[in-house]
Amino acid sequence: MNRTGLAAALVAVVLLAIAPLRLNGYLVDLLYTTILSVALAYGWNIISGYAGYFSFGQIGFFGIGAYATGLLVADAHWYWMVGALAGGLIACALAFPLGYVMLRLRGPFFAMGMFGMAQMLRVLTTAIPATGAGSGLFLPPGSSITEVYYWTLAICIGAIGLTIWIDRSAFGLRLQALREDEQVAGTLGVDVTRAKISAFALSALIPGLLGGGYALFLTYIEPDAAFSSRLDLQSIVMAILGGVGTVWGPLVGGVVMTQISEALWARFPQAYLMIFGGLLVALLIVLPRGIVPAIADRLAAGRRS
């Protein structure tokens, strides 16, 4: 990042940091959900964008984080941020054995397998009494949205930082190599299994950490909220809209998407899903690689001529 970019990033962070002190409740909520989805999109982008393993089940780790935090706060009376941290680490730890098994699958099999995993977790939480089963889990009141906001903002910035590092590191190159051709990457000496499991674990850590904040934000969690397929879809669409496997794609896609989504939700609550799905289809046809690569191409073309 050059100096102007760094300055702009700093200004943005400062503005986001003082935002909850200045804005009204509705706008803070909106900002929180935006940052949450952008952070989720960054999490998804590591395994699905850089490593090329499309997953429709990362929300499972989010749900694990939410429920772990909920239980630790409600039953063990932990301070919620410690609980959320634990939730993230649990999700990340689970990702290693799960990744070892699931990452043998490829393409649509991996995508659907992960979807099945997340759905199984959702069904299990509705059946286990400890998690409040289908009726949900209440968290003790008293937590503030401001704390959740800063927690989520910090994770989002961390996720962007992690992505910048991945994009420049040898690890990132290994991921991109195995995305293009796993066999060739393997013959060239990339430890393919290790690289993709590491990417998978990072892609689980981020939603895992975010889930705890979301549980506090809702003050009440139930399986359909913690394993929300709408949140999952939204973050995937954001990453695709912005540009899969790019550093700034999830952010650009996230900001554009939230604006559209908010306008749609307010004006057409009935047709929201329909327009959302239609938009995704249209985007894939018009901008198959996303906004960021399209702009980069345009800029490169301008420089050449």
């Binding site: 393409g107 799905g277 289809v281 046809i285 690689r289």
Partner: protein, 289 residues
Amino acid sequence: MTIALQLAINGILLGGVLALSALGFNIIFGVMRVVNLAHGDFVVLAAVFGAYAFAQFGINPLLLLPLTIGAGFVAGALIHRFLLRRLPGEVASAEASSLTLTFGLSYFLAGAGIATFGGRFVSVPYLTGAFQLGAIEIPQARLLAFVVATLLSLLFAYVLRSTVVGRAIRATSQNLDGALACGVDVDRVRTLGFAIGTAVATAAGTLMSFLFNLNAQQGVLFTVNAFAVVVIGGLGNYTGAVLGALILGLTESFASYFLGATLAEAAPYLLFILVLLFAPAGLLGRRAR
């Protein structure tokens, strides 16, 4: 013993309809290597439409079959022509982008269904009686759905086996380059395959409305069912799909009796993940993946 027999009969009758639905899913994967995530939404839309037509106009859903089959055929052809075919053809991203496209399509169809028919769960209260065989009950509607689904599956098998179109479809699925070399118009075959697959899905949906209470958002259940069936039987293997459907139907029937409806919801997921991991080519599949 009676209970086991009863559950087995329910499972087999359900399996027959699941098999029809899965055949549609399978043909689309066969000709295009596309996992159609909107499959279940076509099933459910046809089911909800059938229930709506029955409630509003008293139309016998069996008479609706030609209409839903026709509508599914046209919709499938249009979706392939104007959407899937426009996707960029780069090998690395083609699979992912077709998956994402049908994912978006699925939400579009579910949303459109909710906007048109509302969110109420509906079914067709048609032939609600049952045949008594000793202590065993055979629900008439289920039996009818099973019989019609089996007839349609046999028709499907005939088209695939013994017609020129069917041969072209099978050739495209088995060996793309070979099919091209023999002068098969692969592009047209794909449109046709997608259209037939969608038509089979809507036909299955019309029959599903006899069996289930549904609203337009339940599509994902049927996508997962079809995916599970096809994975169990081996992708692209039509005999395997029928076997897989029977296994899944029996599993669901027994699981919902012994574990309750909530936990039984996890059965198809568990089944297909296990098969993917331990028999990745499916129970009858040969091709390595």
